[in-house]
């Protein structure tokens, strides 16, 4: 048999034995191809001018993802090398040279990698269509299926793959070069030794790791880049020390209370955990690290999405909006351009007034998460309010004389419900007639329709009030295009050139949507790209480890059956061994990422992270998505393991 035939046979077997690993490599190629496809798609990149930064973000994420997959392939080939040590030892024993063995191993990995790459391209095309559909939907563009194979994307994916595989193969070549036949043949017969032997230093290290974990998490929340890096360093140290001392601590616990290991199925579970102490500790810590990064990526992605959505939803209400704090009102240059170039259906030039009192601001400051950008409470005339509601497409509201209304952001409603005092405008006294919360351009800092809230009063009540700023709102027959917005923006730059600290606000619904869509694509796509790569890598490594123990489990359970262990008890033991193995590395990441995400979600301006994007929902959705992908791997691993270890006829 020639070397290449033997390689081919081994490659085939490798694909079967490590199906989950192979599937992940195919998915890796698919992910890389699909995201690369985005960077080369002129259709998608011209959706908005903001999309120009997408390729850079994707390439940046790709570099990180390639490193992660590179580590996975390197780890998996190294792992296979050690699992097949006896076979490789036998090759050396029958006279094959190390060079030939390395060549054999190289060839079979090349075949597996090549096959995965081709399959990945096919799947990647499908995945690309999914991403394309999502992007088009974000921009509210219609999606039509068009079969497109990007040679450039395939070329870049190929380059990434070559890098990933060359790295792994050079490492394994070096490994083979260093091998001794005896070590290879007797490699898997030993249990690993306890890493930290001294019980006192282990306890101290364990406690120290917990402190490091807490300190690291707190430092991460300090909102300072340098301190954050220090925090990340503490967390990495925490995870490694924690898992190594934890693994070493388990035998010590049973040494102190030997009878406990004979309770129920403890003995088998505990020994499975401790058989590969060193490796398990390091693997668990690395997996936990990857999971932490995954949860943070996914959660941050959702937070970004929430921020962009909420900030814009408030501005979506008018097709076209402008405001200015100049005492002379909205510059005519804007209005001239609009009149000549934009088909306006309904428009309003109006004024926002300020009260002499700041009682609402003071109340909100005390009772809600509210930052006062204005000195006084903002006020609008009822007739302007009605016209604006009509422009925004909201139903009419009625205001009787002697009444006022509050229009506020949704998150302030409950607070303001408890504060609807009688207010005075000179001689006029007004009592509250209710609160409205539709999006109403209330997210601007000092301008807009009041920051967070606005008081709507009868027209005659404002006669004595001073104007704060002037605004213009309109709805148009067709969406204002990005070019039209650009033209208005150019006018703004011209008219605001010589005015210190004054910068007119300008919003168009179409531009807001394009900005949100682009920002979402630019930030969320790379973050999720990273998160998928991380989850897949971590889950694959756990699964490879677990399934590699199949033969060991088989022997163990066959013997247990002979010794009279009940099948139900065997299934229970296997389940417990399995769940501990998959639960352990997922626990510390929860304790790190949940506070981090909660803090980040709460650090945004108030009123942003509400409803589907409230901190609790962000945590819930992040966990759901993460555990969904994780559960797929767990399920695949468990069914394979159970089928092999506890077949029906056992």
């Amino acid at each position: 048999m020639t070397l290449s035939k033997l390689s081919f046979r081994n490659a085939k077997r490798q694909t079967g034995d490590y199906l989950i690993y192979f599937t992940t490599i195919v998915l890796a190629a698919a992910l890389l191809y699909a995201f690369n496809g985005l960077t080369f798609s002129s259709e998608l990149l011209t959706l908005s001018k903001f999309m120009e930064t997408l390729p850079m973000m994707i390439v940046f994420a790709s570099i990180v993802v390639v490193c992660i997959f590179g580590w996975l392939v390197s780890y998996a080939t190294g792992f296979m090398l050690s699992r097949r040590s006896r076979e490789l030892g036998t090759y050396l024993l029958i006279g094959l040279e190390k060079k030939e063995v390395a060549h054999l191993f190289f060839l079979e990995n090349l075949m597996v990698g090549g096959f995965a790459f081709l399959l990945g391209l096919l799947l990647g095309n499908f995945l690309y269509q999914v991403l394309r559909a999502i992007l088009l939907a974000l921009f509210s563009c219609p999606y039509h299926f068009t079969l497109a194979f990007s040679l450039k994307a395939a070329g870049l994916t190929f380059t990434y793959f070559t890098f990933i595989y060359l790295l792994a193969l050079f490492k394994s070549r070096w490994h083979i070069h260093k091998m001794k036949i005896y070590d290879l043949i007797y490699f898997d017969r030993q249990n690993e030794h306890v890493i930290v032997k001294n019980s006192k230093s282990r306890q101290r290290l364990f406690t120290f790791s917990i402190i490091l974990g807490i300190v690291g998490t707190i430092l991460l929340l300090m909102e300072n880049a340098l301190i954050g890096i220090l925090g990340a360093g503490c967390i990495i140290l925490f995870l490694y020390i924690f898992f190594l001392t934890f693994a070493s601590g388990v035998p010590a616990f049973f040494d102190r209370q030997p009878f406990r290991k004979y309770q129920k199925q403890n003995l088998l579970i505990y020994r499975t955990l401790t058989a590969k102490l060193g490796t398990m500790g390091i693997v668990m810590a690395t997996i936990a690290l990857l999971f932490t990064a995954t949860l943070i990526s996914q959660g941050t992605g959702l937070i970004f999405w929430g921020i962009f959505n909420a900030r814009s939803a408030d501005k979506y209400c008018f097709d076209l909006y402008a405001d200015s704090e100049r005492p002379e009102g909205i510059p005519s240059e804007y209005l001239d351009y609009i009149e000549q170039n934009i088909s306006v259906e309904q428009s309003l030039l109006y004024c926002i007034y300020q009260r002499e009192s700041n009682e609402f601001i003071t109340y909100l400051q005390k009772n809600a998460d509210y930052y006062p950008y204005n000195q006084k409470d903002m006020v609008i005339r009822y007739s302007d309010y009605q016209a604006l509601r009509s422009i925004a497409g909201y139903p009419n509201v009625t205001l009787e004389s002697g009444e006022y209304l509050i229009h506020c952001q949704r998150y302030l409603k409950n607070t303001l419900k408890n504060h609807q005092p009688v207010i005075h405008f000179g001689e006029t006294t007004l009592s509250s007639a209710g609160i409205h919360t539709e999006p109403f351009m209330q997210n601007n800092y000092t301008t807009g329709n009041g920051h967070g809230f606005l008081l709507v009063v009868p027209d005659d009540a404002v006669s004595a009030l001073a104007p704060h700023h002037f605004s213009y709102a309109a709805n148009t027959t067709a969406p204002v295009t990005e070019e039209q917005y650009e033209a208005l923006d150019t006018i703004r730059n011209r008219v605001c050139e010589n005015i210190d600290e004054l910068y007119d606000s300008l919003h168009t619904e179409a531009n807001e949507k394009a900005t949100v869509a682009s920002m979402t694509a630019i930030s969320i796509f790379p973050l999720y790209f990273l998160a998928f790569a991380l989850t897949m890598t971590a889950a694959t490594i756990l699964t490879i480890q677990q399934l590699a123990e199949c033969r060991h489990y088989q022997t163990q359970y066959k013997l247990l059956q002979k010794l009279g262990m009940d099948r139900r008890e065997m299934a229970k033991t296997l389940r417990t061994q399995f769940s501990i193995y998959y639960t352990l590395p997922a626990v510390p990441p929860l304790f790190i990422s949940i506070p981090f995400l909660l803090h980040t979600a709460n650090a945004t301006e108030p009123g942003i992270m509400v409803g589907a994007f409230s901190p609790a929902m962000i945590i819930l959705n992040t966990l759901l998505l993460f555990f969904f992908i994780y559960a797929i791997y767990i399920l695949m691993a468990y069914t394979t393991l159970k089928r092999n270890v506890l077949p029906e006829n056992l």
Partner: protein
């Protein structure tokens, strides 16, 4: 104690049937040490597997203390195995990840014995079998002979009534084999263990009080040791084997 009545075991399908056991019958009294001999493929291991309930019989019945074990449910069979049977295998079958002490204690743990007494019981049997000093070691750290003694300890520690040994000396050198057989004799005589040992080694069989010979799945002959010295019994076994027609290299 054990009654094997006309058991038959067939393998294969409708077109091709292999008869592994053919109307085999014998009784084992409590405290006996019986060896079952035969050439490769004679059905020795199949017989042992059927008695140990790992395999099922096609016809006949096996009664242990009057209970027909062929009619028991899977759960009862598992209970039966862990409470009544002890196993010693050719390849030791100790779990690599457990220490010798834990391998022995595992049987007690499976029998749901009080965890606080497990260590004491293990230490007691280890002392009897001379393996106290290796209790904290893992199987890969001890010799084949020590592993097999540990397996014997595991087979006896829960006071199982019947010890089933499948080629227990198969993987041992002559010195370790002799040592193990003497220990098994000691277990049989002092601890009153009933032993059923499958072997194709005449020397090992000569330690038993009775030898059953199997040929092509049928019981061919039976030899009783009586009061004869072991070397004489050994030669008698060899004589029977010569008549049995097995290859001499198979049996020594």
């Amino acid at each position: 104690m054990l009654q094997v009545k006309n058991i038959e075991k067939y393998y294969g399908n409708k077109n091709q049937v292999t008869k592994a056991l053919d109307r085999v019958s014998f009784d084992v009294a409590a405290g006996e040490f019986i060896a079952i001999m035969g050439a490769s493929g004679s059905g020795k291991t199949t017989l042992l597997n059927c008695i140990s309930t790992i395999d099922t019989i096609s016809a006949g019945s096996i009664l242990l203390d009057g209970v027909d074990i062929s009619g028991l449910s899977d759960r009862k069979l598992a209970k039966f195995r862990r409470e009544r049977l002890g196993f010693v295998f050719q390849d030791f079958n100790l779990l690599d990840t457990l220490t010798i002490e834990e391998n022995i204690g595992l049987t007690l743990s499976l029998n749901h014995q009080n965890p606080k007494n497990v260590q004491k019981q293990v230490e007691k049997i280890a002392h009897t079998l001379g393996i106290t000093e290796i209790l904290k070691k893992f199987p890969y750290q001890v010799s084949g002979g020590q592993k097999q003694r540990a397996a014997c300890a595991r087979a006896m520690v829960a006071k199982q009534s019947l010890l089933l040994a499948d080629e227990p000396t198969g993987a041992l050198d002559s010195k370790a084999s002799k040592n193990l057989l003497e220990i098994m004799t000691q277990m049989n005589q002092k601890m009153k263990a009933t032993i059923l040992m499958v072997t194709h080694d005449a020397y090992s069989a000569s330690y038993a009080s009775r030898v059953l010979f199997l040929k092509d799945g049928r019981l061919f002959n039976e030899l009783l040791k009586g009061t004869r010295p072991r070397p004489t019994f050994y030669h008698e076994i060899l004589d029977v084997l010569a008549v049995l027609g097995g290859d001499i290299s198979d049996v020594i």
